[in-house]
């Protein structure tokens, strides 16, 4: 893909912090713009749908809504651009998605655009290459950065902190101890939002085999009602049965599905704490930072603390104030703090 040429006479520098997520892609920009879009991309299937939709490409919820008329892509899976079958198409969809999120940041034509993009902590080189390829068409210089690190950097929590970034495809764990986290400081697992969706769908199907639903419907239910609390209001949803909307109580199923990611999270925390300097382990336990879309599950911080107390003897969990933009805000801060010569060298 051709790299974006800089303007003849740059009149400013626009920094972008981009969180390219499996479920949502968010941007925070140095012009004050903050935008988020569901990570869906669709292209009209044929001339008829092109004429009807009046667009060459659709993004986010609009693409989801019109997906029957579209070649529909969710280009990111487990936090990286999907490879395998349709890899080229996923790469193009990801590039278009990056282009769209940059466009939504509303850069001026006469500005240089420098972006820091959050990538999963343990993404492979081919995934990082794909993200960079997608970005270079739309920004003048781009750097990748570990997602959980950018969350911590955004909150100035660089010492003795354990960051948990719960996305749709992956949950990233990062141990911050006053230096750049290395591979051994980071753990990624796939017990994240999509896993909760699958569990919830499975549990509802087992309990109510007659109910008809799609994974999208389950995802919407989860986003509205997700909770791990022991005491929660009954969750009654209408699902069609042979075409007729029928009420179902899925309170237990939602709680069980949301709780299913907690033990693997505690496993990962245990791993990162256990192999850390014993003198500082207690400080790590007392500063666990919970971010990402998954952190919006009600009661998750309390449940994590409870299980940490059970298995590790202590635990204090703090939620990020803005789960959707936590990663993007941190990436923006990194972009701002990066010296000029570094940006120049990577152009």
């Amino acid at each position: 893909m051709p790299a974006l040429q800089p303007p003849a006479k740059p009149q400013g520098v626009l920094y972008l912090g981009i969180d390219l997520g499996t479920s949502r892609t968010s941007v925070s920009a140095s012009n004050g713009v903050r935008e988020t879009v569901a990570s869906y991309v669709g292209y009209p299937k044929d001339v008829v749908s092109r004429k009807l939709l009046q667009k060459d490409v659709l993004f986010g919820d609009e693409a989801l809504e019109k997906r029957l008329s579209l070649d529909f892509y969710r280009p990111l899976g487990h936090g990286v651009i999907k490879s395998g079958e349709n890899s080229e198409k996923n790469l193009k969809a990801a590039a278009d998605l990056v282009g769209e999120i940059v466009r939504r940041a509303r850069p001026r034509a006469d500005e240089l655009v420098y972006a820091v993009i959050g990538a999963p902590a343990q993404a492979q080189i081919h995934s990082k290459k794909a993200i960079l390829d997608a970005a270079r068409e739309h920004v003048h210089s781009a750097m990748l950065c570990s997602e959980p690190f950018s969350v911590a950097y955004g909150l100035d929590m660089l010492d003795d902190t354990l960051v948990i970034d719960i996305g749709a495809g992956t949950t990233d764990f990062c141990r911050m101890h006053g230096t750049m986290p290395e591979d051994s400081d980071q753990v990624t697992n796939t017990f994240a939002g999509d896993y909760v969706d699958e569990q919830l769908a499975k549990l509802v199907r087992e309990k109510y085999p007659e109910a008809q639903f799609t994974i999208q419907m389950i995802k919407q239910i989860k986003e509205k009602h997700s909770s791990v609390s022991d005491k929660m209001l009954p969750i009654v949803v209408n699902l069609p049965v042979k075409g007729k909307p029928t009420p179902f109580d899925i309170t237990e199923q939602v709680r069980a599905a949301c709780r299913s990611i907690v033990p693997p999270m505690v496993d990962a925390l245990t791993e990162l704490i256990a192999n850390f300097d014993p003198e500082f382990q207690d400080r790590l336990k007392s500063r666990v930072l919970l971010g990402g879309g998954g952190s919006m599950i009600k009661g998750l911080d309390v449940e994590l603390e409870r299980q940490m107390h059970e298995r590790l003897g202590a635990g204090k969990v703090v939620r990020v104030e803005e789960p959707i933009y936590g990663g993007a805000n941190g990436a923006l801060k990194i972009a701002h703090d990066m010296p000029a010569e570094f940006w120049e060298k990577l152009r």
Binding site: Q11, G12, V13, L14, Y15, A29, S30, N31, G32, V33, S83, S87, L91, R103, R106, P107, R108, A109, E111, Y114, I125, H126, K128, K129, A130, L132, M143, L144, C145, Y153, D156, L158, G178, T179, M180, I334, H336, D337, M338, P339, A340, F342, W343, K345, L346
Partner: protein, 338 residues
């Protein structure tokens, strides 16, 4: 074969109003000028020997030359003047609020500018001239738009027959006005009356009435028949005369209605055009986002007073080095995706 226009005037005849558009505009402007009593000039012009030039240099030449002349017209007229082309490759310029002296000045300026146009064809330079016919509305007495146009066209004809490269104002308003009035009055003669079939009951009633009026008896059948024929013939003549008188009035009424409708169409076309232009402007503004300016004019970098500045500086270096290393690995294995 290439054909290029030299000089500062460049344009395209396609930029001018079409015959239908300019006809509407001219009529509207003429009516307005008559109503509000301001001077109006109409110039009709054509490139001299255009057909021969086309035969000589090819079909593209005509467009190029007409484009050049259109460019001249654009350059020498005001934005408020209307430019269009008529059939037979003639162009027309409508110049409102301009007296006849101003028209002469304008015409001479156009003649000179066209003379200075230079067309290059395969290295050979060709020059062209135009002929111009003019007409004004600043005369006493009745004047119709059709007459004004005919006067201008007559001027163009005379200018061409005189060798071209000139401006002629024929001043034949009265002649064309009379001709036009005569044509208007020449209404089609009523169609020959078809044999009239008068119902027997009507004839019986007429006979009865005549008998009563003239006191005719049974023996006066011949006289009765003669009077009946005379009455019927007289009635038919009167009907035909009424029809003949009614036709011009009806034609005039229809003509006025057509003109009124044409004016309305022109007005609606104009407002439609303006609305479309405005919509296009708004749409263009929608699709081209000017963006929001960043608060930074230069690359910032870490402030020395930032919290944990040294640590952050180290972290920035490490992130940069990791990205450099990533690029190096990607460059070393360009097929990293596979």
């Amino acid at each position: 074969m290439s054909f290029q226009t030299g000089g500062s005037f460049r344009g395209s005849a396609k930029d001018l109003f079409s015959p239908a558009q300019i006809q509407h505009l001219m009529r509207v402007e003429f009516d307005r000028a008559q109503r509000y009593n301001y001077p109006l000039v109409l110039l009709v012009l054509g490139v001299d020997r255009l057909a021969q030039l086309q035969d000589l240099y090819g079909a593209d030449v005509k467009d190029e030359i007409q484009g050049g002349v259109a460019g001249v017209l654009r350059g020498t007229t005001r934005a408020s003047d209307s430019l269009g082309y008529l059939v037979d490759d003639r162009m027309v310029v409508l110049v409102p609020h301009t007296p006849d002296r101003g028209a002469e000045v304008l015409a001479r300026r156009v003649l000179e500018a066209v003379r200075n146009l230079r067309f290059e064809c395969d290295g050979r330079v060709t020059r062209v001239t135009v002929s111009i016919g003019g007409a004004y509305n600043n005369r006493k007495g009745e004047l119709s738009f059709a007459t004004m146009l005919e006067v201008a066209e007559e001027g163009l004809r005379v200018a061409r027959e005189g060798g071209g490269n000139r401006y002629v104002h024929s001043d034949l308003y009265d002649f064309f006005e009379r001709k036009r009035a005569k044509d208007a009055a020449r209404v089609p003669a009523p169609l020959p009356a078809a044999p009239v079939q008068i119902p027997d009951t009507a004839l019986d009633a007429l006979g009865q009435r005549i008998r009563e009026m003239f006191g005719l008896g049974e023996g006066d059948q011949d006289l009765l028949a003669r009077i009946q024929r005379e009455v019927v013939a007289s009635a038919l003549r009167e009907v035909q005369e009424q029809v003949r008188r009614a036709l011009p009035d009806e034609a005039r009424e229809q003509s006025e209605r057509i003109e009124l409708l044409e004016r309305r169409i022109a007005k609606l076309s104009e407002s439609l055009g303006m609305t479309e232009a405005e919509l296009q402007r708004v749409l263009a503004q929608r699709s081209v986002d000017g963006g929001v300016a960043s608060v930074y004019k230069n690359v910032q970098g870490l402030s020395a007073s930032a919290a944990q500045a040294e640590l952050k500086k180290t972290l920035m270096s490490k992130i940069f080095e990791a990205n450099v290393e990533l690029r190096r690995q990607i460059d070393a294995a360009p097929d990293a995706r596979s």
